[in-house]
């Protein structure tokens, strides 16, 4: 069999990473990876960091991937071994300033917000044509706002056209006024009867993206076509912002995407291939931003949030910390942390602030997602109410935490899941890489995922009970796979208990909840057998309840948090 290789490159705000996959013996494997930190000090910094990562892989594998003239050495002949395709993803760049224009709040603007907030965007103006029918005022708003992208939607296919026609005429004028060099990207995803008219009228060439209607008929929302058009618009904006990437992105067999799109593609794939009927949730944390993707019943939800330290963040971090912290010192740490995203927490106190900050960021992220998507049920006190398994954790903020238990605590306290789920870490940051290459060869994704590249952190049983702290909520019968002997354990309210797993052996557990305890088996008091795959922390029973039980006394609360972390294994 001819060896085919695929190269994936991802540029995040601090690192340029590259991975090379090969199907040497008929099965795809990750053969080499490289990561290089960089700072965008000049126009050459980005390309040279990418080149450095590729050259490291070339050195490790002896394979030529990139020529001196920056051409990927793609081998088109399938009978000759070589590089077949390259995936290039980025999550760098300024927040894209977006204007949303729609006919109604509920049927146009709400879906458009969901569409736009998936990416690193800042909505600078929203125009609801029902509330602002004055065409002159609309035009005034548009001409006086600095923006990069405008998304226009509204109306059912074949429905009334008048209001949309007026906006389209205004856009024509705007495009003429701004000229070719500074023309914004325009996505039209409204009444399809006007699609051709919009194309002819606006005359924005490749900067106009016509998509299918987000609401083709009454009550049915379909963002899929608009998503594709938006992706094309964002690609153009990013290439305009980083023109040095153009020469790489324009080559044949090179796919260029935002990193978040590639991750979502992978989450979609995971959701479709798994048989547990649950959704997939991914939380991606970088020092400067966080991104969440949830895929449930084939539907993608997502939100991007740039890090921001505000007045509400400080008490939230203090509340979440497991160490006694001074308010002024915490506030200074967070403010300075924003200025130095690479900062390494050195002391126990700094580590406590860091972990608490990460938790609070996850809560904020998921809360915003719940506001945008009515099918995503999350409350920052009650936690995640939907069924999601696995929950994937990725990004450099997770990557550099000192241990699996730290990673677990950040995710568990931030997400507060219900029922039974599995937390999985993307230690090699592969999700983005695989998502970028999925289009070339779906077998690559399947085989790499099957090769256990993701780090199973823990299987978690979340016990929801209303009893007081210290009362029994669950009994477990644990079959550790060593013959017939079974151990029995009791779990009490407000406890976090860990049961280790042995590599290669599943842990079989019978859950016998107390009548008022819900362990996610469908009813309070209902139990059953659970198979926990071997993982880093094994099986964790979180009986802290929802909302999570916390002592009122500050010192006792911090002590409880330290105990919980300790229970996960020092």
């Amino acid at each position: 069999m001819t060896v085919s290789s695929y190269l994936s490159i991802d540029v995040s705000p601090q690192h340029a990473r590259a991975w090379l996959f090969e199907n040497q013996s008929g099965i795809f494997q990750l053969v080499s990876q490289a990561v290089n930190p960089f700072v965008l000090t000049d126009d050459r910094a980005l390309l040279s960091a990418i080149e450095q990562s590729i050259h490291e892989i070339e050195k490790n594998t002896g394979m030529g991937l990139l020529s001196g003239s920056r051409r990927f050495q793609i081998e088109p002949d399938q009978n000759i071994p070589g590089l077949r395709g390259v995936g290039l993803t980025t999550s760098i760049g300024k927040a894209i300033r977006v204007v949303l224009v729609g006919i109604s709040e509920k049927y146009s603007l709400e879906p458009l917000r969901r569409l736009a907030r998936f990416y690193n965007t800042e909505i600078v103006v929203e125009i609801c044509l029902q509330n602002e029918p004055n065409i002159s005022t609309q035009l005034h708003q548009l001409t006086n706002t600095a923006f990069d992208l405008l998304i226009l939607a509204g109306g059912l296919d074949g429905g009334p056209e008048k209001a949309l026609r007026a906006v389209i005429s205004n856009l024509r004028l705007l495009v003429q006024m701004w000229g070719g060099a500074n023309r914004p990207q325009i996505v039209y995803a409204g009444n399809q009867s006007l699609a051709d008219y919009a194309k002819m009228e606006i005359e924005a060439g490749d900067d106009l993206h016509i998509a299918g209607n987000i609401q083709p008929e009454s009550g049915r929302e379909d963002l899929s076509f608009a998503s594709k058009a938006l992706l094309a618009a964002i690609r153009r904006l990013r290439l305009k912002e980083f023109p040095e990437l153009q020469e790489l992105a324009d080559q044949a067999n090179v796919l260029f995407f935002p990193g978040e799109f590639a991750r979502a593609r992978m989450d979609h794939w995971l959701e479709q291939t798994q048989t547990n009927g649950k959704g997939v949730l991914q939380v991606h944390l970088e020092p400067d931003h966080a991104h969440a993707i949830a895929v449930q019943d084939g539907k993608r939800m997502g939100v991007w949030q740039n890090s921001m330290v505000d007045d509400e963040m400080i008490p939230a971090v203090l509340m979440q910390s497991d160490q006694p912290l001074e308010q002024a010192r915490t506030a200074a740490f967070l403010a300075n942390r924003e200025l130095h995203p690479g900062f390494v927490p050195v002391t126990i106190e700094e580590m406590s602030m860091e972990i608490a900050w990460m938790c609070v960021r996850i809560r904020r992220l998921l809360s915003e997602m719940a506001v945008l998507h009515e099918n995503f049920h999350y409350d920052d006190r009650l936690g995640l109410l939907g069924d999601f398994e696995p929950i994937l954790l990725s990004g450099s903020s997770f990557e550099r935490l000192p241990s699996a238990r730290h990673m677990f605590m950040v995710a568990q306290d931030g997400i507060l899941p219900h029922g039974i789920t599995t937390l999985v870490g993307d230690d090699y940051q592969l999700i983005t890489a695989l998502g970028a290459l999925a289009e070339f060869d779906p077998l690559l994704v399947t085989q790499i995922v099957d090769s256990d590249v993701f780090n199973g952190l823990a299987t978690v049983v979340n016990v929801d009970s209303l009893v007081a702290a210290g009362e029994k909520v669950l009994q477990l019968e644990v079959d550790e796979g060593y013959g017939e002997a079974r151990e029995h354990y009791q779990v009490y309210q407000a406890e976090l208990k860990r049961f280790e797993t042995v590599p290669g052996i599943d842990l079989r557990v019978y859950l016998a909840p107390e009548p008022e305890s819900d362990v996610g088996m469908g009813l309070r008091g209902l139990g059953g057998w659970l198979n926990a795959n071997p993982s880093n922390l094994g099986l964790v029973v979180d009986a802290r309840g929802r909302p999570c039980y916390l002592p009122v006394d500050e010192q006792k609360r911090q002590e409880a948090r330290r105990d919980w972390l300790w229970n996960l294994g020092a």
Binding site: L139, A332, V346, P402
Partner: protein, 346 residues
């Protein structure tokens, strides 16, 4: 470690984009020398628009439209001019409400642009135009001495540097139009007092975190050299401030972008004989260089890098990182993650 620029630089190239928020006309050309406050780009926008839907307002058929519209796109109009007219028993007329221009006649609608609103982009620094940003502005560059800060409120200003002892000298008359430097953790009340006394800019060694939101709203530039919280400014930065006392400086208190190594800075334009090199200089070794430390308990203090171990080490927090061995001024030797260092001088 990705080597960032040093905090104090004697031959620094300040690069400052001056841009309009919306497209307009760029008034400078490449290589042109500009002074502070010179016009770089200008956008002249209509102050108001009026869109008149002739078809619907006059209740016309499309075939009747052509004869009704009396002005074409691009035509200048005076107040009272007839733009559209429907003849009949009682004729209906749409007149220009102000002087202006017909900017579009489409789909039965006439769009009038009236009045003028000018938006200007002026350079806050003197220098040379190094790059034109088509339709929006230009990048101005200037070479000189700089001290980089950690946080800025997004404003820029000029003035003579005045080193101030807040306790004794708050009422000095020369504070007016000066860029004032206060070497302490400065509270909001003190900053407001300085602004009220007419300071052209404020520079502090450190800011109280709670002041940040308020200081962002200040009209004058404010820069913190170290960031937020308790910290002591290093002697090298202090002596740089003393050296610049009484001299004209520019306070570029722009917002920091750590991923682009963009920081707010105090800048003094200086003539230099050095020319830009054809090839990038090899990265200098870090050993022997003076570094400033981030994070408690050493925040703001300095030391010399004496060793750079190759192995990754585990810090007290458990996080693994490459470290530098630092000899501090008091001769104590500590190990600090490379990310928690700022190189002080080049």
């Amino acid at each position: 470690m990705t080597l960032k620029n040093a905090i104090i630089q004697t031959n620094h190239l300040l690069s400052f984009p001056v841009e309009l928020p919306v497209p307009g006309l760029v008034n400078v050309h490449l290589g042109e020398r500009v002074e502070a406050d010179d016009l770089i780009a200008e956008a002249v926008l209509p102050a108001r628009f009026q869109v008149f839907d002739v078809l619907n307002q006059f209740r016309l058929k499309e075939s009747q439209l052509e004869v009704c519209i009396k002005r074409l796109a691009g035509e200048e109009v005076k107040r009272g001019d007839v733009i559209a007219k429907k003849n009949g028993l009682i004729s209906r007329i749409f007149r220009a409400p102000e002087d202006g221009k017909v900017v579009a006649v489409r789909d039965g609608r006439v769009t009038l642009a009236m009045g003028e609103k000018t938006i200007q982009a002026r350079t806050p620094i003197a220098g040379t135009v190094a790059e034109i940003i088509p339709g929006l502005g230009a990048v101005i560059v200037s070479r000189g001495f700089c001290v980089r800060g950690a946080w800025g409120n997004g404003k820029t200003g000029l003035g003579c540097l005045l080193n101030l002892d807040l306790v004794n000298e708050i009422n000095l008359p020369e504070m007016k139009d000066a860029v004032v430097f206060v070497d302490s953790l400065t509270a909001l009340a003190e900053l407001k007092a300085l602004q009220e006394k007419g300071a052209a800019g404020i520079m502090v060694s450190s800011l109280e975190t709670a002041t940040r939101t308020e200081v962002e709203k200040f009209e004058i530039p404010v820069m913190s050299l170290l960031g937020f919280g308790e910290a002591t400014l290093d002697p090298l930065s202090q002596s740089a401030m003393e050296e610049l006392h009484g001299k004209q400086i520019t306070l570029v208190a722009r917002k920091a972008d750590p991923y682009r190594d963009l920081k707010p800075e105090l800048f003094q334009e200086r003539e230099t004989d050095e020319t830009a090199q054809l090839f990038a200089e090899p990265e200098p070794t870090l050993i022997g260089r003076t570094a400033r430390l981030l994070g408690q308990p050493y925040f703001g203090s300095v030391g010399k890098i004496v060793e750079l171990p190759q192995e990754i080490e585990r810090t007290a927090s458990g996080i693994q990182s490459k470290v530098a061995v630092i000899e501090r001024e008091d001769e104590t030797v500590i190990r600090v993650p490379l990310e928690n260092l700022e190189i002080l001088t080049n």
